[in-house]
């Protein structure tokens, strides 16, 4: 009775439930849970391998697919396992330009991942800031921002991206911009929802009554507590951005031919599919599929782990 006995044996008390996670930061707890989840671990391994492959593409790839001097048009559309005149082994064949597909995929992954992550990151920063502002300011600011979000969300993302790319033209920077424009609204909507809930909790009142500046209440108190749903959305959105970029490139309005991404590779092989040269589309498609599935596995597991209603 001399101290506040921690009712450790109680399942009802939140103290008991949290005892297992003692003295670890929420970040490390999440990471730990993620590594224990078998599906998430699979996702992490897939994504890590693909990212590493993309990162070290110049070292791994047998050929630089952008260096026209290294290409031999005579090698075009060789099936997987062929060998070139110069002795280069084409593990998964070549495309219609005589490019080693394996190298092209590695370089294509690079573009896809850069576009996906940077567009998601920029959209996250813009969307999260506007969403936070909207929730904290309330009133007219909130109404105007959220109506813009509504309008934005009522158009299909691909349509907006098509319009912007038609105006802006092609290029990596242009497609990132188009993806940011189509995606920020999701982040804004998500964070506004959780910020509205957090704003009413009494730790925010406590911060206000200590006369902390608004900036610090927003970024040190409210934002960190809104992160869990945001992280989940961001993970899923990276996958979505990569897919959208692939779609746009497939349609021929995303990236220029000089910087082929996975979408462009798929599109290149598309016309040969029916003539039996399946590999030109199939292997880039497989790489894209693995990347998306890997990211989604992580996202799914994160959603379960970060769900406040999760048991235990």
């Amino acid at each position: 009775m001399s101290n506040d006995a921690n009712p450790g044996n109680s399942v009802h008390s939140r103290d008991g439930a949290d005892a297992e996670r003692a003295s670890r930061s929420p970040f490390r707890a999440t990471l730990g849970a993620l590594l224990r989840d078998r599906l998430a671990l699979t996702g992490i391994i897939i994504v890590t391998l693909l990212v590493l492959a993309a990162l070290f593409a110049p070292l791994i790839a047998p050929q630089n697919p952008y260096d026209l001097a290294q290409l031999d048009i005579m090698d075009n559309r060789l099936p997987p396992g062929s060998e070139s005149m110069s002795g280069l082994y084409y593990l998964i064949g070549t495309d219609d330009q005589g490019r080693d597909l394996f190298s092209a995929i590695l370089y294509g992954l690079r573009t896809s991942i850069i576009v996906g992550i940077s567009s998601a990151a920029i959209a996250l920063v813009i969307g999260a800031s506007l969403g936070l502002l909207s929730a904290y300011a309330g009133g007219k600011t909130d109404a105007i921002l959220m109506r813009i979000v509504d309008i934005q969300l009522s158009f299909p993302a691909i349509l907006i991206a098509l319009i912007f790319l038609a105006i802006l033209g092609q290029g990596v920077d242009k497609i990132i911009l188009a993806l940011v424009i189509t995606q920020w609204a999701y982040y804004a909507r998500t964070i506004r929802g959780s910020a509205l809930v957090e704003r009413r909790r009494s730790y925010v009142d406590a911060a206000r009554s200590m006369a902390l500046p608004d900036r610090s209440i927003l970024f040190r108190h409210i934002l960190p507590n809104c992160l869990p749903p945001l992280i989940v959305v961001a993970t899923m959105r990276v996958a979505y951005a990569i897919m959208l970029e692939a779609t746009l490139s497939f349609l021929g309005i995303g990236l220029p031919v000089t910087e082929p991404s996975l979408g462009l590779l798929i599109s290149n092989g598309f016309e040969y599919l029916l003539s039996g040269d399946y590999w030109i589309s199939f292997f880039p498609g497989l790489a894209l599929l693995l990347l998306i599935v890997g990211i989604n596995l992580i996202g799914d597991a994160l959603r379960d782990i970060l769900n406040p209603r999760r048991e235990g």
Partner: protein
């Protein structure tokens, strides 16, 4: 005593937590005789609710394991199948839960929810079930039962909903009623009604009652025999009289000594600390009297004059004002250095809004608030900052009032750093100092809030409030969510701090017994107005306003010898929502004795 209705012997319940079986209830045995009320009392985590759920077999079989014997009507409830158990539940054992707001289905009419049980369990036709439902609602004293059958739960208040839940529990005339904290979520006057109702119904129906509660006052009020639980074990069992007068187990004694008794402060002037009982020996250590801290001669540090706070209720697309919550109406008081003024009242009386208006967490509509000679209501950003250093607030829920993602050291350091109250290098020392001051160890600064118990978190909140060296603290229900023993310690801490730093408290609470213990002066609020204000002695020993009297009568007294017979009233707490054109009446106050004002009706 004839053979018991329910006999629990050597009940063991364990839960699967992260792959390990943890004992939550250990070796608990007790009997409930015919027409007897047995209370199981304990603090959070003592296993009292789990005991009730075990008896009802309502725990998931995947992660809960039950051992022992629960004899009810000649069979061991732990042996029979879930199908057979289904027949026992609801039919022969009724159950009432804590939260009346969620234990009724919001989209089904009240009548439907009662007749459903009657049709299914008692095989009645719709027509007879309806007639029986009316009889049941009459029985739980719901006025105009017939007309209320077709209403939805949302048009019932918390107390009325709890009556409906009781009516459903009674539908099959159970032999045993299990009530799990049925009055905890209710206001004190409503709690008194429900307790009285359960007592009367028990007489009328001749049933036995198992009453789970944390409140010793409620135990004294209702039960014949009492089982005291502590950390999963039944540490003491006996008649309620025995337990209250000759408790043997040290824990029971500690628990009882921490329970504030309304009326026990008669004849004293100063607030009083709670005695601390040694958990091993059960001996109470004597506590020092509190010194007189009130500065009567200086000007008050807080002056509130004619404070009015209203909220518009807007409806429709254009936000037309369709009603107004008169949360605070014409409230005036002052607070001196070293003084504790309590605002008491039931939910919706405006006590919290008053506190929030003073802190400017809510904007008042009119009136003046002066802190240390400075106007709070019209203060600009920079001067408000200055004023806020003088006043701090501690909130009700210690689980909510600390940012879960910030180490407590950071949380305490934040106001110090932001307002430049200490040099960079000194901050850690200041934090350590504050933690020691509230009875925590400085090494705890690196922990996250979830690693603390409720009482410890409240201490952290106090430490953080003290960081700015305020002159007064608004404590909004700050001890209400805590267990009795922890509550007593936090109150002792607050009194210590008051003595050391001449802190003043605006203590907002619904708990009359705690208020009596801690305050110098008391203001009773009802529907946004102060109906009575005066020194603690004058308000508690000579209450004048009928509402004050009613409030005091309703408080359950933790002394079975002083159990009182009440009549069951149906008075509800009125709502402070009014039409937009409502004009608040001008109130006059009578001065009954020096400084004791009562609203003239």
């Amino acid at each position: 005593m004839t053979s018991p209705v329910l006999s629990v012997s050597n009940l063991n319940t364990s839960f699967l937590v992260d792959g390990k079986w943890m004992d939550v209830v250990r070796d608990v045995s007790f009997d409930i005789g015919a027409k007897e009320t047995v209370a199981v009392v304990g603090e959070s985590g003592s296993g009292k609710s789990v005991t009730a759920l075990s008896i009802m077999r309502l725990l998931s079989e995947n992660n809960a394991r039950l051992k022992g014997e629960i004899n009810f009507g000649g069979q061991n409830l732990l042996d029979i199948s879930q199908q057979d158990m289904q027949k026992v539940r609801g039919n022969r054992i009724g159950m009432i839960f804590q939260e009346p707001m969620t234990s009724l289905n919001p989209v089904l009419k009240i009548g439907k929810q009662i007749t459903e049980v009657l049709v299914r369990h008692r095989g009645m036709t719709q027509a007879t079930a309806r007639a029986e439902a009316i009889r049941l609602l009459d029985k739980v004293r719901i006025p105009a039962a017939r007309s209320r059958l077709d209403e939805y739960p949302l048009s019932f208040s918390g107390g009325m909903r709890q009556r409906v839940v009781i009516a459903i529990a009674l539908a099959c005339s159970p032999q045993l009623l299990i009530a799990d904290e049925p009055t905890t979520a209710l206001d004190v006057t409503i709690q008194a009604q429900i307790l009285e109702l359960i007592k009367v119904l028990q007489e009328e129906e001749g049933m036995s009652v198992l009453f789970i509660t944390h409140d010793m006052g409620v135990v004294a009020e209702i039960s014949d025999r009492t089982v005291v639980m502590y950390r999963g074990e039944a540490v003491e069992t006996g008649t309620t009289q025995e337990i209250f007068q000759h408790a043997k187990h040290p824990y029971t004694r500690a628990l009882l000594s921490a329970v504030p008794k309304l009326g026990s402060m008669a004849g004293t002037v100063q607030p009083k600390r709670f005695p601390i009982v040694d958990m091993k020996t059960g001996e109470a250590a004597s506590v020092a009297d509190t010194a007189d801290t009130v500065e009567h001669d200086k000007t008050p540090i807080l002056e509130v004059k004619n404070l009015v706070t209203r909220f518009d209720i807007k409806s429709g697309f254009f936000g037309r004002v369709s009603g107004r919550v008169h949360a605070v109406e014409n409230v005036s008081f002052d607070l001196r250095e070293g003084e504790t003024l309590s605002l008491v009242g039931e939910s919706g009386c405006g006590k919290s809004t008053t506190g929030r208006s003073i802190m400017r967490l809510t904007e008042a509509k009119s009136g003046s608030i002066t802190v240390g000679g400075k106007d709070v209501r019209h203060a600009g950003k920079s001067s408000l900052l200055d004023i806020r250093k003088h006043m701090q607030m501690i909130f009700q829920d210690p689980f909510e009032s600390l940012n879960p993602r910030m180490r407590v050291g950071e949380a305490i350091a934040e106001p110090i750093v932001t307002h430049g109250l200490a040099a960079r290098g000194e901050v850690r020392k200041r934090v350590a100092d504050l933690l020691t001051r509230v009875g925590l160890s400085p090494s705890m600064a690196d922990r996250f809030p979830h690693e603390f118990s409720g009482g410890q978190r409240q201490r952290v909140c106090i430490a953080r409030a003290l960081a700015l060296e305020p002159r007064f603290i608004v404590a909004d229900e700050s001890v209400s969510a805590l267990d009795v023993s922890v509550k007593a310690q936090v109150i002792n801490l607050m009194l210590d701090l008051q003595e050391r730093f001449k802190l003043a408290y605006l203590f907002i609470s619904h708990d009359m017994a705690v208020v009596e213990r801690i305050s110098h002066r008391v203001a009773v609020m009802y529907l946004g107005e102060i109906v009575e204000i005066g020194s603690r002695a004058s308000v508690f020993e000579n209450p004048q306003h009928p509402y004050t009297k009613k409030l005091m009568e309703a408080v359950p007294v933790p002394d079975p010898a002083r159990r009182q017979i009440r009549r069951i009233s149906n008075d509800e707490i009125r709502s402070p929502v009014r039409a937009p054109d409502f004009v608040a009446p001008v109130r006059k106050y009578d001065e009954v004795s020096a400084g004791h004002f009562v609203q003239v009706q």
